[in-house]
Symmetry: C2
Subunit: 343 residues, 2 copies
């Protein structure tokens, strides 16, 4: 059923039917009711592509998820973020166009999305400390919201972020309070800003407590199990054996656990492990990890907010720039609890 058929069926012009359905005020209420009824009966929905073509709005938002290489794992955090965004789009009648692409192809993907008029705006994921995508998107004039922050940006832009720096400062402080001094940070790639900010938070706490920073207790790489295993193994065998690990993702933590148990050590007895992972907030329901308090600030919430921000932006470019820093955050203890180092 299309507009023409519907209007013929009603004995009205396409215009009137269109106006009735789109809530224009000048339509007679009786007519509107009639039209709405017939539309519902005939299960009529406007053809999205025709509507888009006529209005010039794509009614779609692009999410481009970068992966480092063809075989890279997709970070599960994206799934939650996208779920939140999808919820918002459903509410406002937008579609979500997803592309998962190798980082090197991203530039051409943005250009292509814009040139094809496939989307009205995009969400930028996984920002780097100095991210060339900002300039590109400004250049092609595509509205965007960044999930995270670009540390070295000179210009304003829309972003929403968790307070990674504060979270890692707090986590580190917690370990310090437990008597630890040799605290390892097994971090993500520090070219990505989330990891960089986590590093800064970790260092903040060390500095405030006059604890020296050991370079060999700082690791930074892609978040995989193998990375966690190998890094922890090396650290445990080194001179500066850490008594605590601060781990940037539960995937990595699986490897860290493996290394620890292989070294004959026990978490909660010989060593302490704190995992920080936004996604884990979902595990937390029911007090799964009672050792640490944790505010539930889910990535999904960020997705909802980011999408709303972008739609507002598209609606009214004057709102620019909008920023949200989610102060609530998550510190997740190891399942076996922290090891209190005797002073």
């Amino acid at each position: 059923m299309n507009l023409k058929e519907l209007s013929e069926h009603l004995g009205l012009s396409q215009t009137t039917v269109s106006r009735a359905l789109n809530g224009y005020p000048e339509v007679n209420e009786t007519t509107r009711k009639r039209v709405e009824l017939a539309a519902a009966e005939g299960n009529y929905r406007p053809n999205l592509r025709a509507m888009s073509l006529a209005t010039g709005r794509a009614m779609a938002i692009g999410h481009v998820i970068p992966v480092a290489s063809k075989n890279d794992v997709v970070n599960p955090v994206f799934a939650e973020f996208v779920a939140g965004a999808s919820q918002t789009y459903n509410l406002y009648g937008y579609e979500l166009m997803l592309t998962i692409a190798e980082s090197k192809d991203e530039e051409s993907i943005y250009k292509s999305l814009a040139a094809k008029r496939a989307v009205d705006g995009v969400i930028v994921h996984s920002p780097m400390r100095n991210d060339p995508r900002l300039a590109l998107l400004n250049d092609i004039g595509l509205p965007f919201v960044v999930h995270g922050r670009v540390c070295d940006s000179k210009t304003d832009y829309n972003w929403i972020d968790m307070n990674n720096r504060r979270a890692f400062k707090q986590a580190t402080q917690l370990l310090i309070d437990l008597g630890h001094e040799k605290i390892a940070l097994i971090n993500g790639q520090e070219t990505l800003s989330f990891a960089w900010l986590r590093r800064l938070g970790y260092l903040d706490a060390l500095t405030e407590n006059n604890i020296p920073e050991y370079a060999d207790l700082l690791a930074s790489s892609e978040l995989t199990e193998t990375y966690g295993y190998e890094t922890a193994t090396n650290m445990l065998a080194s001179e500066n054996t850490p008594s605590a690990f601060l781990v940037s993702s539960y995937i990595v933590a699986i490897g860290v656990r493996r290394a620890i148990s292989q070294a004959g050590l026990a978490i909660g007895k010989d060593i302490s492990v704190i995992i920080h992972d936004d996604e884990l907030s979902y595990f937390h329901n029911g007090g799964a990890f009672p050792q640490f308090t944790s505010t539930r600030s889910s990535v999904r919430e960020a997705g909802i907010l980011a999408a709303e921000m972008l739609l507002k932006q598209i609606d009214d470019p004057n709102l620019y720039p909008q920023n949200v820093l989610l102060e609530s955050h998550l510190i997740m203890g190891s399942s076996t609890g922290p090891y209190r180092k005797s002073a």
Copy 2:
């Protein structure tokens, strides 16, 4: 830059330019070259919506990911599957439209996608043993491929699946060979067919080995940490204390581990844990879990194949039905290795 501008710039008609760009044979090769050059220079891409309207093809595929409730976690497996599909769509010029929706809204979402002409086909995720979506999609005439199988379907349909049954039979056999008899299965919701098939595989092995099936060693629910923790805790405190766990997802396994360590037991010493999780294939690189062999059959591969299958179907409806059962599968050992029960 649109077609009109491009053709005026070239001094040709829109028709010729369109034909040249779309590879029609009747175009003079010299002309084609000229057109292609100018198009590249002007960074011309056809307006997707105009193209769609003219051709009647949306050039987009819908993925509808169901979540049980508003606060349900999105299964990370979807991310990998979708990544694979996205790769295929990029190749063929299709877009991927993602919707994450509560199961109860799904029906209306499919109807809406079809009526709006937003997609040319859909991928059905998380099939149930008896899934009403098949009938619905057949009814509205939207081509689809199911990721998984609908156990009780009378009619044919396109699907691609891992051999969950065989994988769980093998995993169970492995534990039996290690001397275990009281083997717990902590499974997903058995209304979903993947979980049901896993259960059947588990039972296959028990039956073949004349091992009795203990009802209290079979659990089935949504895959969360808390579920794993509570179930394992109860099982460990019961009469039929299991000496081995077979766990249907690494998220659940985190809870199981927690329960085990809280009960004062050690994996690999007092108890054995096998986790099966397709997604974990990505962890496997580098022999992270050397205890078991494992063929790497990633969910991403399934995504690639499913997308190809669907595009073929759209191209030529006569190919129906297409089915792929991925025989390769994954058995992932616990990081601390299996416990060999003394006979």
